[in-house]
Amino acid sequence: MLTRRIIACLDVNAGRVVKGVQFVDLVDAGDPSELAARHAAAGADEIVLLDITATHENRGTLIDTVRRTALRLFVPFTVGGGIRTAEDAAAVFDAGADKVSINSAALARPELIGEIGAKFGAQAVIVAIDARRAKDGAPVEHAEVYVAGGRKPTGRRVVEWAREAEQRGAGEILLTSMDSDGTRAGFDCELTAAVSAAVQIPVIASGGAGNAHHFTQVFREGQADAALAASIFHFGIADVRALKEELRRDGIPVRLPC
């Protein structure tokens, strides 16, 4: 039976893992290669490394971080942040990534999705969407796509952009609820369900994980194929194995033993 994936996410800034609340107030959380190896050993089904400040000057640092991290990983490894061209993607693949996650660059030039896919396969392209709900109980369909690390609204609706990304050849959607991110109050299940129903490709839910029950909710109510969490693991609230054991008790299919 196909299991639901638990993905450990490392937000990296200048070669170090950091974690913020609602995209600000960054706290140092350790060395990326060490944390990635630790999560994989504890049963993470996949590792995502996001270069959250992604500046041109930092590209060399990122490639080096990717290479060091990939060396010890034998589970799927995704890298995102600052990938603007097929050449940027190629450099990251060459350093050992299995998939790239693209966000702002895909919105600016949606052809990029197909360009990377043509060379490395659709399975290697994740389109990341940073979503914010419209205020005051507006319908979930009005949720808007933000770019530039969540700083800039695009005027595009989340569900519609997810559909377009799929049509252009994305292999998966990584959906982050900016409203929930870092709050540890639970995923946005309604938004995740809306996107999951709109596309055929897997949807990875992100933003808001605080306890095991939140994962059960996003798999059941949110129809997520995978869920991503960062701070829940870094600060020892739970490791992946403990989380999976709870999910299994809830009847969610997970990779155990792992």
Partner: protein, 199 residues
């Protein structure tokens, strides 16, 4: 020498890395003469079945056919497994090796496609590839086309329907999943392949 056939399909860094971790010193090559000298051949691959046309066009298919007939252990991964069949409806114009006469087809509608993630393996007994790997172990898949279950299937996975997760007949072997991305289970399988007597 272990040859990893480079047919310009996708990213082979992970396969090379995993083989090194499993104790091999693999050579990545698109040269038929290197393939002819190899004691073991691995055909990795992600992406479109049409990419296998490269094998035909560059003399690699003939070299592989020759060596497989001579008994050299061969492992196809993902599209590399599908290539062991007659072909795939993904690119009907490209003929596979036809070690197995069936065709690969797209998953039937009703499930999300591609099939992405960790799925369990129902492992048949007496497989050399799976020696020491427990039934029900998980492996990482990412694909939209699948091979049917046939007599030489040694591991079956279910995704809406059963399909061949691994096949093995003498020295001809293939896995639909990615052993290079399947944690300890994958490394174990690669070690099993590496430990087979070379021809």
């Amino acid at each position: 020498m272990i040859a990893v056939v480079d047919y310009k399909a996708g990213n082979l860094t992970s396969v090379m890395k995993a083989l090194r971790a499993a104790g091999a010193d693999p050579v990545l090559s698109d040269d038929p003469d290197v393939v002819r000298r190899a004691g073991k051949i691995i055909l990795p691959g992600v992406g479109h079945f049409a990419a296998t046309q490269f094998l035909e066009d560059h003399g690699l298919k003939a070299a592989i056919q020759e060596r497989v007939a001579a008994g050299v252990p061969f492992l196809g991964i993902c599209v590399g497994l599908q290539w062991l069949f007659a072909g795939s409806t993904e690119a009907p114009e490209c003929a596979g090796l036809a070690a197995f006469p069936e065709m690969c087809e797209r998953f039937a509608p009703g499930k999300k496609v591609p099939h992405v993630g960790w799925n369990s393996l129902a492992i048949r007994e007496n497989s050399r590839l799976f020696a020491g790997i427990p039934d029900g172990s998980f492996a990482y898949f990412t694909h939209s086309w699948r091979a049917p279950v046939v007599q030489d299937t040694v591991a079956v996975t279910e995704y809406g329907e059963p399909f061949t997760a691994a096949i093995e007949r003498g020295n001809v072997m293939g896995v639909q999943f990615h052993p290079e991305k399947s944690a300890e289970t994958g490394l174990h399988l690669l070690r099993n392949f590496l430990e087979l007597p070379a021809c």
